[in-house]
Each structure stands twice: as structure tokens, then as C-alpha cells.
């Protein structure tokens, strides 16, 4: 690294790139003074900080000031000058640099000349070296320096990118960042790029896009109708529960929830009918149930839920069925503060006995607990549970009746041992 005086001055006068220099003794001295001042000011802050109300003290960013680390000044003196070495060297000709040297100089922030890289081969060589340097900054710079427009026009050069994925991805990312959609679109038209970008949509994905389009059409109609109805003030539900936001651009399930909330009992022929939405968008049974459940529970329309879960077989018997496990149903109901009678009904439908008892105890569904213990014929558990119900309540009487029943008493002895070690 020979220093050449005239050249050095040349550099400082002409270069756009500012670099640090510490050749000047005075400069360095004043800087050290600066540091010391800075450190001293921190010290005083640290001392202040020991106050009790330390937490409340915030700086301009709204965060606590200062750090409590103590600095050893000697170590800074030791290493700092070396680390702050000027980035640029003094010699700085613009001449015949090889592609490798050119890239190297660019990495150091030095001026380069690209005039000599005019042949396709040279341009590509330069690109390959920039990729090899693992420096995204330089790869992107390459595209900036090689004039973008002429670049795009040059089909030959352009096709070369196909085999240079790293460079290509830098180019695409740059275009995305500067939001040059025109160029991006032009890129997209080229077949070989389709593998690298995830566009256009696959058939499966275009079905989603098509659905979205249909949904938007629906939302526009529903929004217009409902806004009118709300303003007119004649529909009770809008008065009782004013709409919080427009339904436009909401996801499908949110739309379904909205329709279950405001348009639940509409015939399937209307656009806003939940059943219509379910069929149009092929919503799964479970998804539909969950959404109806959430919406009707919010409105405390328990009878709707009853109807939702009730299915009738061909003999006309009814049975409660759910695609969602009943313990999850209970969970959703409970979060919507369903009354105990309602909870009780669904807790009773939970298949797993342990889970059922757990839920029943959690939600104080005494009947279920008592009946389960009765079926288990476990006197001990019944006795234990009597302590948990209210004195003089119907539940207590029920337990007492069960305990007094001689049949149960006798049976209990038969099974007592068995259940003892189970529980």
C-alpha cells in the first residue's frame, strides 16, 4: 500500500465517497475528547439512574436511557484507530480493471469504470464475478449500471439470466422494491421465469380466486341492502346489534358469521342466507357448524342451536349430532356465557366419561356429576360431592336420596373395590 501524495489529494477532491481519515493528529485528539465527554455524560446519567423512579425515565424514543456497562477507555484507544481505518485506499485510477478487480473495487465503495465491458461475454463475466462475491449489493448494482432498458431489450443477454438464478432473483427483488410493475409484468411474460416466480396461479389456485370474485359480488349486494335496512330502522336486529363495520373485503367465514348473525332464518334463495353461502362456496360441515354455533351463541339463540344439532332418523327419532366434538361445543358455549341449563345439555353429550365429569364439575352441572356417580355406583364419590353442592339445594336432596336408597347401598359394596383403584 504505497501512498502517492498527488493522487491521494486527487481522490479527496474528486471522490463522491467520503471516507474516514485519522492522519490528522489534531482531529484524532479532538475525537478522543469527544468520546470522553460522551462517556462522562453517560456516567452522570448512570448515577442519576440509580434513583428509585428509574423506570419512568425515558428518552426521546420513549425508552429507558443509558446502559449500566462500564467502559474501559484504554481498550478503545488500543483498537479503535485500526478499526476506523479509511475504507478507501489512496490509489484510485480509472483504468483497465479486470472483471474480478472491478467487482472488488465496487465492494470497497470505489469508483469503477464499466466502459470496457461492452461485449456480451464481458458483461456476463462481470455478472458472474459479482455473483461469486456473495454480495447482493453488488449483484443489484450490476443491473443498475448495465442500463436496465437496453438490458431488457437485449433478448440474448436476457436469456442468459435463465441459467443465473441468483442474479435473476436479485433483479426481481429490486424491481419489486422500486415497484416497477411494468418491468415485472414484462418479465412474467417470459416462460422460463414462471418456474422461479409462483405465478400465474395453478388451476387449484385460480378456483380460489374465482371464489373470491363471487364472494365480493355477494358482499357488495349484502352490504348495500343491509345498510339501507339499518338506516331505515325497521329491522329489529340492526337496532339491537348495530353493525360494527362493513362486510366488504372480509374473509368468507367472517361473511358467513355475519349472515348467521343477521340473516339466519332467511330462505336459501337469498344471497345472504347462510345455507346459500354454504352451498355456493362448498363450506365443510364442520366449518359451517362452528360458525353457526359461534354466531347464534353470541346472540344467545339457544333454540337455534338445539335445532342445529338435532337430527332425525327415518323412524322419526331425534338424536343430537355434531361434526365438532361436544366438549369443544361446550367450550364455545361457555365462552359465550351460556346458562347452566344449556351447558348441561351439551356436557351430557360428551362421550368420554372422564372428560364429561371434568367439564361438568368445571361448569357446575351438578346433575351430570351426580348421575355419572350414580351410574358408577360409587358411594364415596357421591359423599364427597355432597360437600361441594349448596346446603339445602335440590342437588343435595338428590344425593341424599341416592345414598339412602337401600338398593344402591348394597350394590355399592359389590363394586366399591373395583372403582376405588380406577379413580
Amino acid at each position: 500500500m504505497m501512498k502517492n501524495k498527488p493522487d491521494e489529494e486527487d481522490y479527496w477532491n474528486s471522490s463522491k465517497f467520503k471516507a474516514f481519515t485519522f492522519d490528522d493528529e489534531d482531529d484524532e485528539f479532538s475525537r478522543l475528547k469527544e468520546s470522553k465527554q460522551a462517556v462522562n455524560s453517560i456516567r452522570s446519567l448512570v448515577e442519576e439512574e440509580d434513583d428509585e423512579d428509574e423506570v419512568e425515565k425515558v428518552s426521546w424514543s420513549g425508552e429507558p436511557v443509558g446502559s449500566k456497562t462500564s467502559l474501559s477507555e484504554s481498550s478503545v484507544k488500543l483498537y479503535a484507530p485500526e478499526l476506523r481505518k479509511p475504507k478507501s485506499e489512496s490509489k484510485d485510477y480509472i483504468s483497465d480493471w479486470s472483471p474480478e478487480e472491478t467487482i472488488h473495487r465496487m465492494q470497497q465503495g470505489k469508483v469503477v469504470s464499466l466502459e470496457r465491458f461492452r461485449s456480451l461475454q464481458d458483461k456476463l463475466l462481470l455478472l458472474d464475478f459479482s455473483v461469486r462475491a456473495h454480495d447482493g449489493n453488488i449483484i443489484t448494482a450490476y443491473f443498475l449500471i448495465i442500463d436496465l432498458f437496453s438490458f431488457l431489450c437485449s433478448e440474448v443477454l436476457f436469456r442468459e439470466l435463465e441459467s443465473r438464478q441468483t442474479a435473476l432473483r436479485h433483479f426481481i427483488h429490486y424491481l419489486t422494491e422500486i415497484r416497477d410493475h411494468r418491468l415485472l409484468l414484462e418479465l412474467l411474460r417470459r416462460d422460463f421465469l414462471k418456474s422461479c416466480l409462483n405465478l400465474p396461479f395453478s388451476p387449484e389456485e385460480s378456483a380460489h380466486v374465482q371464489d373470491h370474485y363471487t364472494l365480493l359480488e355477494r358482499q357488495i349486494i349484502i352490504e348495500a341492502t343491509d345498510r339501507l335496512a339499518e338506516h331505515a330502522g325497521k329491522v329489529e336486529i340492526f337496532q339491537k346489534f348495530p353493525r360494527r363495520a362493513s362486510i366488504l373485503n372480509m374473509p368468507l367465514i367472517t361473511t358467513l358469521y355475519y349472515c348467521c348473525f343477521y340473516h339466519y332464518n332467511e330462505p336459501e334463495g337469498t344471497y345472504s342466507s347462510p345455507l346459500n353461502i354454504r352451498h355456493t362456496f362448498r363450506i365443510s360441515e364442520k366449518q359451517y357448524f362452528v360458525t353457526v354455533l359461534a354466531a347464534r351463541a353470541k346472540l344467545k339463540a339457544w333454540s337455534d342451536l338445539d335445532a342445529l344439532f338435532t337430527s332425525r332418523n327415518w323412524l322419526g327419532f331425534t338424536k343430537k349430532k355434531s361434526p365438532l366434538s361436544f366438549h369443544r361445543v361446550v367450550d364455545i358455549l361457555q365462552k359465550n356465557s351460556a346458562p347452566t341449563q344449556v351447558l348441561q345439555e351439551y356436557v351430557g353429550l360428551v362421550d368420554d366419561a372422564d372428560l364429561r365429569i371434568g367439564l361438568a364439575q368445571k361448569h357446575k352441572c351438578h346433575d351430570i356429576v351426580i348421575n355419572t356417580y350414580r351410574d358408577l355406583k360409587d358411594r364415596q364419590l357421591l359423599l364427597g360431592y355432597r360437600g361441594k353442592v349448596e346446603r339445602g339445594s335440590a342437588e343435595e336432596r338428590k344425593i341424599n336420596d341416592l345414598l339412602d336408597s337401600p338398593v344402591r347401598k348394597r350394590r355399592n359394596y359389590d363394586h366399591h373395590h373395583h372403582y376405588q383403584h380406577v379413580t
Binding site: A38, V65, Q165, H173, Y174, H208, P251
Partner: protein, 613 residues
């Protein structure tokens, strides 16, 4: 926890702050006279750790503004911008300033940190501002967040590098490593795994060769570089160690957390620095959450005893008590009540979202057990429109552990996801697929050697049936293979005492040893990658190990040799840091974690969302 008596001392990283501060002051003085300073929003906290407002004022910074992408209102003749090298910000500077049109003359300076990019300068040039505006670089690469954590504070590294395939930060990482090496090196050995780690290593190597390094007493022995994409499982798991949990719930920003009124039980929120200086926090940060409560209540009892000492004191004793102990006790009291408040708030939030069931699902996925139940749990999560991030996180965990989803599951879950959270997430799915985080199993992938052998023996029809039977059994899964080879999932039938952890799995309730940390452990133990060939093959290779070039003599077992620098490219989690601290205590190492940013599952997924274009 018993710490080894001869645990080595950590190097003093405050030096890094000092260097950054000196450089910044120098740059500010390059623009003499009064000036207004505009600071990029995400640089404010890091800057605050380096130079406080009075330091800036001393160097003639008049007013401070946050870059908010609004028109610039400043009356100063000189305006300085301290920004990240982002095209968007540079464009804003141009748009926001109407000086040229108004015929007004001001001096402008843009300081890019940690470096400038050609692309940013090109914007200035394009707008005809190049020359009117001076640009500079503030080489602020590394911010020490704690005694053993250093961050580059570059969260965008993850998306830029792994999603966009843009290598703009590779050299930055190389320079950061170079800085550490020149102050605390020379390193005796460098290990690494991952494409980016390899490139960063090469960039660093080149920079070492450019400069002349003097022989120096090393303070750091070995370095280990690891790409985030080597292990996506770990950052996708729910964190249950205190510091990680606090980060998951309250989001620790630049080593500082804001506790809201639900924690402070007053109407104002409080910002707290979370580091080893906080005596209460430093004792619980690495603990499994289940131990934290009992620890805090013990601590509270001790505090009460200490306060109670006042009773029966005479005046003189009381005076000593007040001057010597009271202040410390009050400080401890304040911290204690904050962390107790935080714990309560965490408990409340976690109970509400059925955390137990969520953890059960995660653990089943890691074990490869009851996958159908996991899928239906995730499905219900999506159907109920519970957190969109959480649903994606679980989907990704499912996909990575199962080596992709069966086509019919993939389509059904994706369709339901789009229906629940919006069709614009098509782009999110595209992003996740590109990273291999959420993919569909390719037909044919399930065909194993065994099946094809059997297929030769029996007729086609039978073979078809067999394929169906096998496909569920013999799915090729890298994670399962890795997990078996490295023993990542401890046997579930054994009791795991979380109070006395026996391995790094404690950070996930004993259910899983973080892959990233296990790799580090294995390589350090073997002092090479030898014997791990099958593992690295499953991780797509790109592993390397080099001996330091600077003739660093391997003074056996000197203190520096037991200081290990681990650099995560693309972010690391607090759980991983806790695991490494544990490993360090077990093996007599001290780990220094350098990361491009602190991450967690939400940050990772959020970086990949495509719904807000």
C-alpha cells in the same frame, strides 16, 4: 443450578457500543453547525442504546424526528437522515422535500447504517439529487443486548435472504464477523452449516485477507455459523422458558419490554430493560415457566424477612439499614412485583387460549404421534378463526415434521385457511412453499424401497393395496430421521424433572431438544463434523470447518478456548439462547450469541405473510 467454578469470563462487549458512538459523533461533526436529525423508526431503540439524546445535542443536533413517511417540516438549514439502506426511505426523502421546487437551499446528509447500497444511491441519482445530498455510512454492525447476546438488529435479513434470495446482507454479516474477529479474535476454529453461513464465512475471509491483522491475545476461541433454515422447527415451537415466553407474549424489543396495565396493575405502562443487570430477571430468565412462580414467591418471602428486620432495631441500626439495604430492597421489590405481574398476565392469557392443548398438539407433532388428532385440532383452530399466525405456525410444524402434508389434507386445510382468513393469503402460501415450510407431499415420494421390492414379488393389484398400507408407515421424513439420529425427542415414558434439567430438552418441557443447539453440541464435542455425515446430508449439506488462518496456537484449554461465538443467520430465539446457556454450564463453555435479530414464531411467520402487498 450448580455452575462450574472455573467458568470463563466473557469479553467486554461494551467496547462495541463505544466504537459505534465514536463513529456516529464523527459523522455528525462532518456536518458542522445546528442540524435536525430524522431517524428511521426501527433504528430509534438501537440508537438509544448507543448514544442518548444529550450526546446528540452536544453535537449540535437540534430537533429529533422519527421517519414517518409524512412531509418534512423542519426549519433547520441542515437536515440529517439516519436510515437503513432501504429504497422506500430514500424515495420518501426525495418526495417529502419540496425544497427544490420552492427554490430553497438546505444541506442534506443521509447516513446509511450499517452500510449503503448502490440501489439507494441509484434512486438519488435518478431523482437528480445525487451530489446535492451527501451520503455516508455508519458502520454500526453490532449492538450488544446483554453480556452474551449481540444483535445486528436486521430482522429483514430473514426475508431478504431466504425468501427473496437477495444476498445484500451477506457481506454485512461478513463485516460484522470481521469486526468481532479484529477485536476479540483471532478465532482458532470456525464451523458452520448453511448456504448463507458459508458465503458469510467467505466474505469474512476475504475481508481478513484485505486487512492486516496483528497478533493478539484471543478472547474468543471458536465460532459457529448457522443458517436459520437449517432448523425451522425450533423457532416454530411455543416458548415455555420465561424469557422466551415474555418475548412471545409481550414482545421484547431491543432488550426492552413494555408491560401494560394488566401487568403493572396501575393505569400506566412501564418499560423495563431485561438483561443480566436485573437481579430478579437474571435468575428466572432461563427457567421453565412452571418453576418461576415458586421461585418468585420464595423471593417475596425472603424480601419480607429482610424488611421485617427493621422491627426491634435501634436508631443506629435503622440508619445503617436505610442507607445500605433499603434502596436495594426497594429496587428488588419493584422488580419482583413487575415479574409477578407479568407471570399472572401470562397465566391468564395462556389459560384463555387453551395453552395446554396447544402444547399437547405440538408435542404430538414432534413425536409423530396421533397425527390425525393434530390435524383436526389445527382444522378447528382455523374454523374458529383463532389467531391467523398461530394457525399457520401449527400448519408449518405439521408440514416439517411430517415431511409435507398429504395432498388431500393440504388442499382441505389450505382452502379452509383461505376461507377463514382471506384469499389474499394465497401469496402467504406461495411464500411458505418457497421456503419449504408448508408443502404438499409429491406423489411417488411415498414409494419406498421396501414397497418396490414387494411390488416385484406380487401382482399389481396387491402392490397397489400395499402401497396404500405403507404410505402411512414409511413416509420419508427428514425431521423424523434427524430426530432419531440425534435423539431430539426424549422417550416420553420417563419422568422429566423440569426443576433439575438433564438436557437441553427442558426448554421445551422435556419434549424436544432444539436441533440447532444439538448440532452445535455435537460438533463441539467431536471438534469436527466427522461422524455427522448422515445428519448433514439430511440437512442438505453446506457444512464446513476451518482452522483459523492467523496462526492462533491452540493453547489447550485456555479460557478463551472455552468462549464460543455462535452466529445465527436469520434470527435466533430466546429459548435457543437458554439452551446454549445450559449447555455452557454443563460443559464449562460460555456461549456468545450473535444474531441478525431476535426472532420467535410470530416474527418468523409475519415476515412471510403475503396478505399486505
Amino acid at each position: 443450578l450448580a455452575e462450574l467454578a472455573d467458568s470463563p469470563e466473557l469479553p467486554d462487549f461494551s467496547l462495541l457500543k463505544r466504537l459505534a458512538r465514536d463513529q456516529l459523533i464523527y459523522l455528525l461533526e462532518q456536518l458542522p453547525g445546528k442540524k435536525d436529525l430524522f431517524i428511521e423508526a426501527d433504528l430509534m431503540s438501537p440508537l438509544d442504546r448507543i448514544a442518548n439524546v444529550s450526546t446528540l445535542k452536544q453535537h449540535e443536533v437540534d430537533k429529533l424526528y422519527k421517519v414517518e413517511y409524512k412531509p418534512i417540516i423542519s426549519t433547520s438549514d441542515q437536515v440529517c437522515f439516519l436510515i437503513r439502506p432501504r429504497i422506500q426511505t430514500v424515495k420518501w426523502i426525495y418526495v417529502a422535500n419540496a425544497d427544490k421546487a420552492a427554490g430553497k437551499f438546505r444541506r442534506y446528509k443521509i447516513i446509511f447504517t450499517p452500510q449503503k447500497f448502490y440501489a439507494c444511491e441509484a434512486v438519488l441519482e435518478e431523482q437528480g439529487l445525487f451530489g446535492d445530498v451527501t451520503t455516508d455510512e455508519w458502520a454500526f454492525y453490532l449492538l450488544p443486548l446483554d453480556d452474551d447476546i449481540i444483535s445486528l438488529e436486521l430482522p429483514e435479513f430473514f426475508r431478504d435472504n431466504f425468501l427473496a434470495g437477495d444476498q445484500r446482507w451477506v457481506r454485512t454479516v461478513g463485516s460484522a464477523l470481521h469486526l468481532l474477529h479484529s477485536i476479540y479474535g483471532p478465532f482458532s476454529k470456525i464451523y458452520g452449516i448453511g448456504r448463507c453461513a458459508k458465503m458469510a464465512y467467505e466474505s469474512w475471509k476475504e475481508q481478513v485477507e484485505e486487512g492486516d491483522t496483528k497478533a493478539r491475545q484471543a478472547e474468543i476461541g471458536n465460532a459457529f455459523l448457522i443458517d436459520r433454515d437449517v432448523d425451522y422447527i425450533t423457532p416454530l415451537c411455543s416458548q415455555v422458558v420465561y424469557e422466551g415466553l415474555v418475548d412471545d407474549i409481550f414482545r421484547i424489543k431491543c432488550g426492552c419490554v413494555e408491560f401494560g396495565h394488566d401487568v403493572t396493575s396501575s393505569d400506566k405502562s412501564v418499560k423495563v430493560m431485561l438483561n443480566s443487570q436485573d437481579k430478579v430477571f437474571s435468575e428466572i430468565r432461563n427457567e421453565h415457566f412452571s418453576n418461576v412462580f415458586s421461585f418468585l414467591s420464595q423471593k417475596a418471602r425472603n424480601l419480607q424477612t429482610a424488611y421485617d428486620k427493621r422491627r426491634g432495631m435501634d436508631i443506629k441500626q435503622m440508619k445503617t439499614f436505610v442507607s445500605e439495604e433499603l434502596k436495594g430492597l426497594k429496587q428488588e421489590h419493584r422488580l419482583l412485583s413487575l415479574h409477578i405481574g407479568a407471570c399472572e398476565s401470562i397465566m391468564k392469557k395462556k389459560t384463555k387460549q387453551d395453552f395446554q392443548e396447544l402444547l399437547k398438539t405440538e408435542h404430538s407433532l414432534l413425536e409423530g404421534f396421533e397425527i390425525r388428532e393434530c390435524i383436526s385440532f389445527i382444522e378447528e383452530h382455523i374454523n374458529r378463526q383463532v389467531s391467523m399466525i398461530e394457525s399457520l405456525r401449527l400448519l408449518c410444524l405439521l408440514s416439517i415434521t411430517e415431511n409435507g402434508l398429504l395432498p388431500k389434507d393440504f388442499r382441505a386445510l389450505k382452502a379452509q385457511y383461505l376461507q377463514s382468513y382471506g384469499v389474499d393469503h394465497l401469496l402467504t402460501f406461495a411464500n411458505l412453499r418457497q421456503l419449504g415450510l408448508l408443502v404438499e407431499q409429491q406423489p411417488g415420494e411415498t414409494l419406498t424401497v421396501m414397497e418396490s421390492k414387494v411390488g416385484k414379488l406380487v401382482n399389481d393389484k396387491t402392490a397397489g393395496k400395499l402401497t396404500d398400507a405403507f404410505s402411512s408407515l414409511a413416509k420419508k421424513s427428514h425431521f423424523r430421521a434427524l430426530s432419531r439420529k440425534l435423539n431430539l425427542v426424549p422417550k416420553s415414558d420417563e419422568e422429566y424433572d423440569l426443576r433439575v434439567p438433564r438436557d437441553m430438552a427442558y426448554i421445551f418441557s422435556g419434549a424436544y431438544i432444539p436441533l440447532s443447539c444439538k448440532l452445535i453440541e455435537q460438533v463441539l464435542e467431536r471438534d469436527s463434523w466427522t461422524g455427522l455425515e448422515e445428519v448433514t446430508k439430511l440437512l442438505n449439506g453446506h457444512e464446513f470447518a476451518f482452522t483459523g488462518s492467523n496462526g492462533a496456537d491452540l493453547r489447550a484449554k485456555s479460557d478463551a478456548q472455552r468462549i464460543i461465538l455462535v452466529m445465527f443467520l436469520g434470527g435466533c430465539t430466546f429459548s435457543e439462547i437458554s439452551a446454549l446457556r445450559f449447555l455452557g454450564r454443563e460443559r464449562g463453555y460460555k456461549f456468545i450469541v450473535v444474531t441478525t435479530a431476535i426472532t420467535n414464531s410470530s416474527r418468523l411467520i409475519e415476515a412471510l405473510l403475503g396478505n399486505k402487498v
